[in-house]
Amino acid sequence: MRTIILLITLFWGSLAIAVEPEEMLDDPVLEARARALSTVLRCPVCQNESIDESNATLAKDLRVILRERIAAGDTDDEAVDYLVFRFGEFILMSPNRQGVNVVLWWSGPFLLLIALVIGWRAIRPKQVPAQPLTQDEQDRLDELLNS
């Protein structure tokens, strides 16, 4: 019986989706923390999926390691650092804000500021100084007023 189940599991192996019941921690608070963290960690062998949604074996391993660290009393940051140290910053779905990544994070607010300034300058009513009338215009005006 076990062999059959094993075969079925292998056959359907890649069908297992995301978090499996047996992986989950008994403590709901710790499990909630693990779930929250696993949505921001990328599965290293997948196409743009977090380990929370991925069905790859490696993602499963990472989910289990993450839960082991959390159960061992790591804080969220410590647990993530533990994985980043081993798999690189590639697994961070939200890139850190160090080095050139500052440009990434601040490009939106920065551009918004520039756009608002340009927009404001373009719309702002321009103070056009009143041009004095030319001699011809003055003559014509006098003529109209006096007629």
Partner: protein
């Protein structure tokens, strides 16, 4: 033989397109009416030739002609007919041919319906349009020929990727392409206007329907893709900030900005050069999207085609059309004189803010999308930019747009009265804040986005309704309703589209605030509770489908002790492609979806079962469809149909 004719027809179309680039442009320069009038028949000839090619390719898929390498790789005799047809564009070569078909179709429509345009402008528009098609003919013929034959035809094909054998995905690419390619018309109009050196209200009126149509198609295409991801990928996500999703989202944002700024050009003859720039950028982002999807340079769940050579070709096309247009823009934009001045607090001012927020948010998506590529090439850091970044960097722009939308859309043109508008909207604002507090009190999620989204959704919908109602003027109820009925379709479109945006906000907020999830090993015939529902796994059987075998589960769901619905989640295995898929079972409801997924069998005879309750999920796509419908209403406005033919005296 037919296949070779189709291939030859494509080459012939390339030649016709080259003629259509050169002669009308030359004629327009020399004011030679004969040369200019070549454009129309040439555009129709292109449509006939490419249509023939595409028809033959479709026929080859329908009759499973496996001598064609493309059919062999992407089809199978046992596949249902609809997926044989959708298989034509379920692969790189065929989808590029579809792209081209839509491109020449739009060119032909412009040629037929453009009789009212000044002949010189029409000739230039069609010439630019043909230049785009020349680039894509070359791309297809040189790098992605769909008409390659095998010397020894195989007996059967390799089948289409099972994930693509789905009604939602059958129509997702054509709609997206209609949108992408529709923006090519806005681009051609912009470049023609730059060459002419003039742009006026009439120009805006000609461009607007194309942009509107493109935006409507993009909206539907994106909604279809998101809906497909929701029910097919097995856990009910609806947006992943995947590079390929972003590729369609960036042109959508820019096209939305363009729609709004073209209104200002049309009504107030202002924001001209900005509108031209948006038209160029919108198509630029469409090409960039094509590059991202077709080169596979950014890793994505959609990686259907990973071919650097094709990627470089598209990059060259992008560089040529974007670079060329921007150079022309730099040289000519200064000549576009704005006529109408306006104060900061005015409808124009509101639309400028809308444009700034939409354009900057599109830019944020752009930076986030290409950042991994940039970081790897420039500084050798391999990193990821995923949903948490976009949630943090993009969402504030949407919140700002939602906050200002009702105010901006109610301000008067030229000079608005902020105080009076705010006073009118006061009660709605108070109500929206109450909704936020209520949501905060009763939500089960922890994010602040739930309450904020709920409030903003309500704010936008009621704001749109109030704006619309105030258009009816004063007097008796019946008179006011009668006046509403006679309002231009564009006003109806505005109200419907804005309300649709609000509904999408509510949908996203609902899922954020009240999503429920239950993952467990369910034993057969053992009821358990998820929220208000009682779930029982009744059985799991093997079922044979047309080209797959299915593990077919039966879940009874009861509510308040009464049978509510029976769900049948499946796991399918496609033997030809050797690929399994998960088919979630969803009970669609107005207030909540129940979403069930069958997992693996367990040692104790039970099965892993995932059950989600997704509140207001359908509002996300319902709102998107409403937005598209609003755009469609606006498209049928009498002004665009009639006045498009006449040049306003200036």
């Amino acid at each position: 033989m037919l296949i070779e004719l189709a291939h030859f027809s494509l080459i012939l179309a390339l030649v016709v397109a080259i003629v259509q680039v050169v002669l009308p442009a030359w004629g327009a320069q020399k004011s030679h009416i004969g040369l200019m009038s070549v454009a129309g028949p040439a555009a129709l000839a292109q449509l006939a030739l490419v249509g023939f090619s595409f028809g033959v390719l479709t026929w080859a898929f329908v009759v499973s002609d496996f001598s064609l390498a493309l059919v062999y790789k992407n089809s199978h005799t046992a596949k249902p007919l609809i997926y044989k047809i959708s298989g034509v564009w379920g692969n790189h070569e065929g989808s590029m041919l579809l792209w081209l078909l839509i491109l020449v179709l739009f060119g032909a429509i412009a040629a037929v319906r453009g009789g009212g345009l000044p002949p010189r402008l029409l000739a230039r528009v069609l010439s630019v349009q043909a230049a785009i098609s020349v680039a894509f003919y070359l791309f297809i013929l040189l790098t992605s020929n769909p008409f390659d034959r095998s010397a020894v035809p195989p007996l059967n094909g390799l089948d289409l990727n099972p994930l693509l054998q789905d009604p939602g995905l059958a129509f997702h690419p054509p709609f997206l392409y209609l949108g992408y390619v529709g923006l090519s018309m806005s681009y051609s109009f912009a470049v023609a206007a730059l060459i002419e050196g003039r742009i006026d209200a009439a120009w805006a009126r000609w461009v607007r329907p194309w942009t509107l149509a493109a935006w409507v198609f993009l909206t539907v295409g994106i909604a279809l893709g998101s809906w497909w991801a929701y029910y097919e990928l097995g856990w009910g996500g609806f947006w992943f900030w995947d590079p390929v999703e972003n590729a369609s989202f960036m042109p959508w944002l820019i096209a939305a900005a363009l729609l709004h700024s073209a209104i200002v050009v049309e009504k107030r003859e202002s924001l001209k050069s900005w509108t031209i720039l948006l038209a160029i950028l919108a198509f630029g982002f469409s090409l960039l999207g094509t590059f991202i999807v077709r080169s596979g340079v950014l890793t994505s769940v959609h990686a259907f085609a990973n071919d650097p050579e094709r990627g470089i070709f598209i990059l060259l096309i992008l560089a040529f059309f974007l670079g060329g247009a921007l150079t022309l823009y730099a040289a000519r934009a200064g000549t576009m004189q704005a006529k109408g001045a306006f104060s900061m607090v005015s409808r124009e001012g509101g639309l400028v803010l809308n444009n700034i927020l939409l354009a900057v948010s599109a830019f944020v998506v752009f930076v986030g999308t290409i950042w991994p590529l940039f970081a790897e090439i420039a500084i050798g850091r391999t990193l990821s930019v995923g949903p948490p970044f976009f949630d943090a960097a993009f969402t504030p722009f949407m919140i700002a747009i939602a906050v200002f939308l009702p105010v901006g859309s109610m301000l008067a043109w030229k000079r608005g009265n902020a105080q009076r508008t705010v006073k009118k909207l006061g009660p709605i604002a108070a109500f929206a804040v109450a909704v936020a507090l209520l949501t905060y009190a009763v939500q089960s999620g922890r994010s602040a986005l739930g309450p904020i989204g709920m409030a903003l959704g309500v704010w936008i919908i009621l704001g749109a309704a109030l704006d619309f109602w105030l258009r009816s003027g004063r007097g008796a109820m019946s008179a006011r309703i009668g006046r509403l009925m006679r309002l231009p379709r564009a006003d109806w479109g505005k109200a419907v589209a804005h309300a649709g945006l609000g509904i999408t906000f509510l949908g996203v907020a609902g899922i954020t605030a009240w999503n429920q999830e239950d993952i467990r090993v369910a034993a057969l015939n053992t009821p358990y509770d998820v929220g208000a529902y009682t779930v029982t796994l009744k059985g799991v059987e093997r079922v044979q489908g047309p080209n797959y075998v299915s593990t077919f589960g039966t879940l009874d769901i009861a509510k308040n002790g009464r049978q509510f619905v029976t769900l049948n989640p499946e796991k399918r295995f496609y033997p030809v492609a050797a690929m399994p898929t998960t088919e979630a079972a969803i009970r669609n409801g107005i207030w909540a979806d129940i979403y069930a997924v069958l997992g693996d069998p367990q040692a104790n005879g039970g099965y892993t079962v995932r059950l989600y309750v997704k509140p207001l999920a359908n509002w996300i796509w319902g709102g998107a469809i409403l937005m598209a419908f609003g755009g469609f209403l606006s498209l049928t406005d009498r002004r665009l149909r009639v006045a498009a033919g006449q040049r306003r005296p200036t």
